[in-house]
Symmetry: C2
Subunit: 496 residues, 2 copies
């Protein structure tokens, strides 16, 4: 009996398999089954996977789903203008432009919506005026010259405006406006209407566009607004946290490599840990999104704790120096998988100061993240930076206090060990300097990372000053900043 | 006498300055002068600077200017459709849609234009069909339910489609199409027309959009076409060259630092050199542009040496591994400015092998750049890679051959020198291990870079195989690839 209740005959073949006997009539049925299977297995499975993915996105970033609903809402509202007859007759067939404006200018962040709306209104108005002017001149100059004047002006204006979209300052602020400018200019200057009719047309079109843009701005700001500025802020804070975890993770992984890799191998913790260690990769790839967010944030009105002229560019500077630290951490991550291992005695000697340094630097990064998240100057940061500098000093002392003679001894011990193993595993000795390479690299990359983190501290401090972050305690500041300067000096000239 | 020929009286003031006596009547003149100065000095200067910048862009990238001219041309042609009365009456007022299509879908690369045109046509057709269907259902179900059905269907469709634009697979291929889909659906389903009239409307609108899109594709492909694919290819090749120059520049700068910094300081050469050394920064920042180019290149028809299914994604993989090498070079660049310098004897000992390694690795990168530029497999690349591996081996040998006792001696020499200087400059000794740090870092980053370059070689080889690059000489390949494998093995297990 098969699963769908039909009887079937099986014949035992010579090679031990069985073959099912089917009547010829079921040939078509067979084909139908296959098509059915194809549809179920192929297309529906794909569709199901697609839906699952979409569900995953909606779950992890509900803001995106909210944006979809907001667009639906705005369009439904504007379609009332279009659908209801009294209103429809009021704005005429131009109501189409209100719908078009909503579809085209409604973006996921408030800033982007503002940018597009402002660009659309300015572009349409400017091009409308210019178009009417050119149209009038062409109409006045007689039937012969009219098409020539129109053609040449159109060609020149379209070429120049399109080219201007490549100029960075235009591209970042008026890219969309330039496109709308060309579009409106074409439609107005070429249209067969007389100038008086054009004014009437321009009036209704601009009023419908105004309806569309104001509705967009209204809906995007009132229902769960998504501010580009807040997103930039939280991205920066999150990236600082990720850097801190990566740095900590890399160093502790390097020094714990030998002891517990075996136990950790099949562990969930390790996977978690790995994703934490590789958080720096997000920082490496966040340049483009940071720039577009900062670009849109400029268009946003004052909201929450962000004033009108909040220095968004400073966030980009923080992002830039953060990325420099991330490059260093990437190189540091490369040290983890080196085949050559430093002599154990040296590794043990340096493990503590290295871990101390990495944890104190990641403390600094975490504090900076809190500064940006809470928009409050930190009283602790100077203390943490000086802690970090002390840790650098201690690491340098540890290197110094490891006398070269002892290094010699420990290295030759290692050599002997290796020689002994030679008889079993046929490995030859690794010379002293070679063995030092990875550890030396780790240490100096760690120190380099620290100095880059100090640039991040400076960038965040500049941001906090320019953006007028609240300070928790005004009185403590001068003395601790002196202290900080002193510590920087100590780090740069360690022997001073 | 002033410059404009008027007499003026000066009065000597008590504090030694002079004050000019003016008649009261010239007050207005003065203000006019100031406004004039403001216009000339402020606005016109800004405009002049802007024009200069634009001219610079047009000069350095004439393709951008050409794109402007192409848009102008396409718009002038399409406006003929709109302007000429016979044609105008033929396609009706819908000719507007042809102009709109040209303005909106004409992009600078052929691929991007194709992407937008195909999306526009598909989106419009699909939404048109669906819109007419929904419109019919709503009209059939009576006056009461009509607005409800229309409103709900519009809300659902707009929300779902807008949300789907966040799903990566939709975003990369159908982002624009989804927007057009929502737009057309709204316009069609809400319109007050009867279904028969809608069919007529849809027919003319789709035909005008077809005119617009075919004109766009025609102009963008026939007049100096700018292919996204070729741009991706040349960007990849250029980035490989830049990496090679950076690597070479960093290492030679490190070892030549002491001798000729003074002479080079005020030299034009140095500036040039610096921009070459910092070429890796371009590689670090090229991810976004590579991705968008690869995305558009998929839409391009076969052209030149690129077949229809050219593996554009493989270029992204090459870009990815290239960026990993760039991270390493960035860290290496950080070593250049270290305050602690390695003992001279050690530096001298390692200078030659380091330079040899960097020049052999940059040879590999340059050869890869030629492979991609010419789309021809290289017979030299295996030889160059084995050269690079030999150079790694030699650097390792050089480190080994520097006996630790001699290191000890040279280090203590340095210490003594430092001690002697102590009396003059009050610097204390820097201990042996500390002094080694920057050089050890440089060496191991250099070796790490080499191993990452080997990944680049593999990625380019995969690309060459998948894209069926011509091979210069088929016979030589098997033996040399064996040789290559052997060399890789040597590098990974240096003591094998």
């Amino acid at each position: 009996m098969t699963s769908n209740g039909n009887l079937e005959w099986r014949v035992n073949m010579g090679d031990g398999t069985t073959e099912i006997l089917r009547p010829e009539a079921s040939f078509m049925k067979n084909i139908m089954m296959r098509i059915k299977n194809f549809i179920w297995g192929g297309l529906l499975l794909k569709a199901w996977k697609f839906l699952e993915k979409a569900w995953g996105i909606a779950n992890s970033e509900p803001k995106k789903a909210v944006h979809g609903l907001k667009v639906g809402l705005a369009l439904t509202i504007v379609s009332i203008f279009y659908y209801m007859r009294p209103l429809y007759e009021g704005v005429g067939g131009n109501a189409m432009w209100a719908i078009m404006t909503v579809v085209v200018t409604f973006e996921s962040t408030v800033g982007a919506t503002f940018y597009k709306c402002v660009n659309r209104v300015i572009g349409t108005s400017l091009a409308g005026c210019l178009g009417i002017g050119v149209h009038w001149i062409a109409a006045e100059s007689g039937d012969k010259f009219e098409p020539i004047i129109l053609g040449i002006s159109l060609f020149l204006l379209a070429s120049v405006t399109t080219f201007s979209r490549f100029i960075p300052s235009v591209k970042s602020r008026f890219d969309y406006g330039a496109m709308i400018f060309v579009l409106t200019f074409c439609l107005v200057s070429i249209s067969g209407y007389r100038v008086e009719k054009l004014f009437e047309l321009a009036r209704t079109r601009i009023s419908t566009i105004a309806i569309g843009t104001s509705l967009c701005i209204f809906v995007s700001m009132l229902f769960c607004p998504i501010w580009a500025g807040s997103q930039l802020q939280s991205l920066t804070a999150r990236n600082l946290d990720k850097l801190a975890h990566s740095l900590d993770g890399c160093v502790s992984e390097y020094f714990e490599n030998d002891d517990d890799t075996e136990e950790m191998k099949n562990n969930e913790d390790e996977k978690n840990n790995n994703s934490k260690v590789e958080g720096y990769k997000c920082v490496l790839n966040s340049k483009a999104s940071e720039e577009s967010m900062a670009n849109f944030a400029r268009w946003e009105p004052a909201h929450g704790r962000f004033g009108f002229r909040h220095p968004w560019k400073k966030y980009l500077e923080v992002g830039g120096v953060m990325r420099k630290s991330a490059y260093c951490i990437e190189a540091l991550h490369g040290c983890l998988n080196s085949e050559i291992q430093a002599p154990n005695s040296l590794k043990l000697h340096l493990a503590e100061p290295c871990k101390a340094l990495s944890s104190s630097s990641s403390e600094v990064l975490k504090e900076l993240s809190i500064v940006i998240k809470k928009m409050k100057k930190s009283t602790k940061i100077d203390f943490l930076v000086s802690n970090m500098n002390v840790a650098v000093q201690e690491l340098q002392n540890a290197i110094k206090s490891f006398p070269s003679t002892q290094m010699e001894v420990s290295l030759s011990e290692q050599e002997e060990e290796a020689n002994n193993e030679d008889h079993k595993a046929a490995t030859t000795t690794i010379p002293p300097l070679m063995k030092l390479l990875p550890l030396a690299t780790l240490v100096s990359l760690l120190i380099e990372t620290t100095s880059r983190i100090e640039h991040v501290v400076n960038a965040v401090e500049t941001l906090a000053n320019v953006a007028n972050y609240d300070s928790e305690d005004e009185k403590k500041k001068p003395s601790s900043s002196d202290n900080h300067d002193h510590n920087v000096a100590m780090r740069v000239f360690p022997e001073a």
